[in-house]
């Protein structure tokens, strides 16, 4: 499993992680950073919008239930904003009951990941997603693969 993971596999990709739970933010930020990505974080939808405007991330990983502004509302605002609407948003949520996935995709999230994340499964899952998303697919096509020793 670890043979498939490299420290530069997410090189050049800027992530915005939006979650109100500090541990969740911490886990995702540490993991993505370890994999070579640029990561900025916000603790609710409102902050997320501001950070997105400032940093222009390539992908947004957003929780759904958050105070001040939920992931749903943030998605709506992003879609309304000409400067942000092209940024793909992936739902990263502990809402994992039947129908939650469909609801998220119907709302406009490009994909959906259920918490808890299990690192050995999460990394390939995320990479496959990013490869499938037109805005991020290029990051994997151009770069030569460098394996971690």
């Amino acid at each position: 499993m670890s043979s498939q993971v490299s420290k530069i596999m997410l090189n050049g990709i800027t992530f915005l992680v939006v979650d109100d739970e500090p541990d969740n933010v911490n886990v995702v930020v540490r993991l993505l950073t370890f994999l070579g990505a640029e990561v900025v974080a916000a603790e609710n939808g409102q902050q997320g919008l501001e950070t997105a405007r400032a940093k222009q991330p390539n992908v947004i990983l957003a929780d759904l239930s958050m105070p001040t502004m939920s992931g749903w509302e943030m998605l709506y605002q992003v879609k309304q904003d000409p400067a942000l609407k092209e940024i793909p948003m992936i739902a990263l949520t502990a809402h994992a009951m039947a129908g939650d996935r469909t609801r998220a995709l119907d709302a406009g999230f490009v994909d959906y990941i259920a918490k808890p994340i299990d690192v050995p499964k999460f990394v390939p899952q995320l990479v496959n997603m990013l490869k499938a998303i037109p805005q991020t697919a290029s990051f994997f096509a151009e770069r030569p693969r460098v394996e971690v020793p």
């Binding site: 541990d23 886990v27 502990a94 808890p116 994340i117 299990d118």
Partner: protein, 526 residues
């Protein structure tokens, strides 16, 4: 008066009979009046009949006088024995007629009749004297002339009397006829008046009788109509004790009974309505409870996953970053394994709760078989790789390209069965095969694992049970997986069967209805 009233008001029959009695009595009175009048008329007719005969006799008398006058004149002009005899006959006729006149004369004309009789006797005497003079000696013509004058004078007075008497008789007859007419008219008037009176009384009596019968009856009819319309306030007014009154009383009793029965019915309806209301409230409460349970499960799911995310996440990173000695790495890995087991347990408990709450909805959609199988394959392959087991998937040509299933439910079933197969197999291979038969889809998951003794085939589908109770510790798992699988199969309209024995491996066979998607179904889904 009140006694009569009481008598009459007690029975319609009495009233009708009384009415008929009165009318019959009136008719009898009429008949009596009529017969009295009739008798009177008959009596008067009896009086007028002799008067008419008297006129005939008077006529005879007048004729006899004329005959006598003519015969007396002829006696001197012609003479002879024949004439004398004629005169004698004439005189006899006169006498007979005069006697008849006296006999038949009405009382008031009796003196005049007696005068006529005397005049007749005198005429007879004078005439006989004259006849005797003609044959007698010593008679001068002067004597004869004088006697002739006497005869004619007697004739004149008799004629005068006859005329007077005729006139009187005619008057008498006229009076009698007038009288008869008057009485007839009176009779007529009395009879007509009587008839009118009888008619009026009959009409009044029938009106009164009818009124006492018809009026209460129509009141009952009005009440009946009102009751039919639901208005029970108007009871029938009962004023008599007769059959109609009894009908009214019976009607009122009936109305009362109907009213109380309707009130009972209304009360029952109200109670029913209340029960229905209670049922509705109870159902709403049940629905609310179910919704709250669903919400609770959803919140529970969310809240349990959030800390697990931190646990699994941090440990994953620790392992990924590396640099741990073997001992520490093993502890991290064991922690991770237990965290995953906890996650599986949470998922299974939530699933079973949702199934039990009836909130597990089966929503079939059109699913491409090959895509579906590859998704399952990519999800489970990692387990095969970890244990270096074979993983063979066979989709028979009998399978249609698309199937109509709830993908989430079927995925859960296969992931569970395949997960078990990999878990209990140490060497060999795990096979997944799909085929269609008799409009059913048959999915088999078989392994070359430890197998399940036959006597435990039943209990493995029970909750928190594994074939070997020690295996929970050895193999992990909540013990809920097969129970969930079985219930999901049933919810999808299918079933699951197991074929296995100790050391023989296991084959789980899921049979689901294969509903070929018709155009209609597709239309409905869209």
């Amino acid at each position: 008066m009140s006694r009569i009233q009481r008598f009459l008001t007690r029975s319609v029959q009495r009233r009708v009979l009384t009415g008929f009695g009165i009318i019959i009595a009136l008719i009898l009175v009429g008949v009596i009046i009529f017969s009295i009048g009739f008798n009177r008329i008959q009596a008067i007719s009896a009086q007028t009949a002799p008067t008419s005969e008297q006129l005939v006799v008077l006529q005879d008398y007048a004729l006899s006088l004329s005959a006598l006058s003519a015969d007396v004149e002829r006696l001197f002009a012609i003479g002879g024995q024949g004439i004398e005899e004629n005169i004698a006959q004439d005189l006899d006729s006169l006498e007979i007629a005069a006697n008849s006149i006296v006999t038949g004369s009405p009382e008031e004309l009796a003196p005049m009749a007696t005068s006529l009789a005397q005049a007749s006797s005198q005429l007879k005497a004078e005439t006989q004297k004259l006849v005797a003079m003609r044959t007698g000696d010593d008679v001068t013509s002067r004597d004869i002339n004088e006697q002739t004058v006497a005869v004619f004078s007697a004739l004149d007075s008799a004629t005068q009397l006859q005329k007077d008497l005729t006139k009187g008789t005619l008057n008498h007859l006229g009076e009698a006829i007038d009288n008869q007419q008057r009485i007839t008219l009176n009779m007529f008037a009395v009879t007509h008046f009587g008839a009118v009176v009888v008619l009026v009384i009959a009409i009044v009596a029938s009106y009164l009788i009818t009124r006492t019968i018809v009026k209460p009856l129509s009141e009952i009819a009005v009440s009946a109509t009102q009751i039919a319309g639901g208005d029970y306030t108007k009871a029938v007014r009962v004023t008599t004790g007769d059959e109609v009154g009894q009908l009214g009383l019976a009607f009122n009793e009936m109305a009362q009974a109907v009213r109380s029965r309707e009130a009972d019915l209304q009360a029952q309806t109200d109670r029913l309505g209340q029960s229905i209301q209670e049922l509705i409230v109870a159902r709403r409460k049940a629905e609310e409870a179910s919704r709250l349970k669903d919400e609770f499960l959803s919140v529970m799911s969310h809240e349990l996953r959030t800390p697990l995310n931190a646990i699994l996440g941090y440990q994953g990173i620790i392992e990924l970053v590396g640099g741990l000695d073997a001992d520490n790495l093993q502890m991290v890995q064991r922690t991770q394994a237990n965290a995953r087991r906890l996650l599986d347990l949470i998922n299974d408990v939530l699933d079973i709760s949702r199934i039990e709450a009836g909130r597990m909805e089966i929503v079939p959609t059109e699913v491409g078989v090959n895509d579906f199988v590859s998704r399952v394959q990519s999800q489970m392959e990692v387990l095969a790789q970890e244990k270096q087991l074979g993983f063979n998937i066979a989709v028979d040509s009998s399978m249609p390209a698309t199937i109509f299933v709830d993908e989430d439910a079927l995925t859960k079933v296969l992931v569970n069965l395949l997960g078990n197969a990999f878990k209990f197999t140490e060497a060999g291979h795990v096979d997944l095969s799909l085929r269609a038969e008799n409009s059913q889809m048959i999915i088999s998951v078989s392994d070359t694992g430890i197998g399940i003794p036959v006597y435990k085939h039943e209990i493995i589908f029970e909750r928190f049970r594994q074939a070997d109770s020690t295996s929970t510790r050895q193999h992990g798992g909540s013990g809920l997986g097969l129970s969930i699988v079985q219930q999901l199969c049933q919810l999808m309209g299918g079933k699951i069967a197991v074929e296995s024995d100790t050391g023989q491996g296991s084959t789980f066979t899921v049979t689901l209805p294969l509903q070929p998607i018709t155009l209609q179904v597709r239309e409905i889904i869209r």
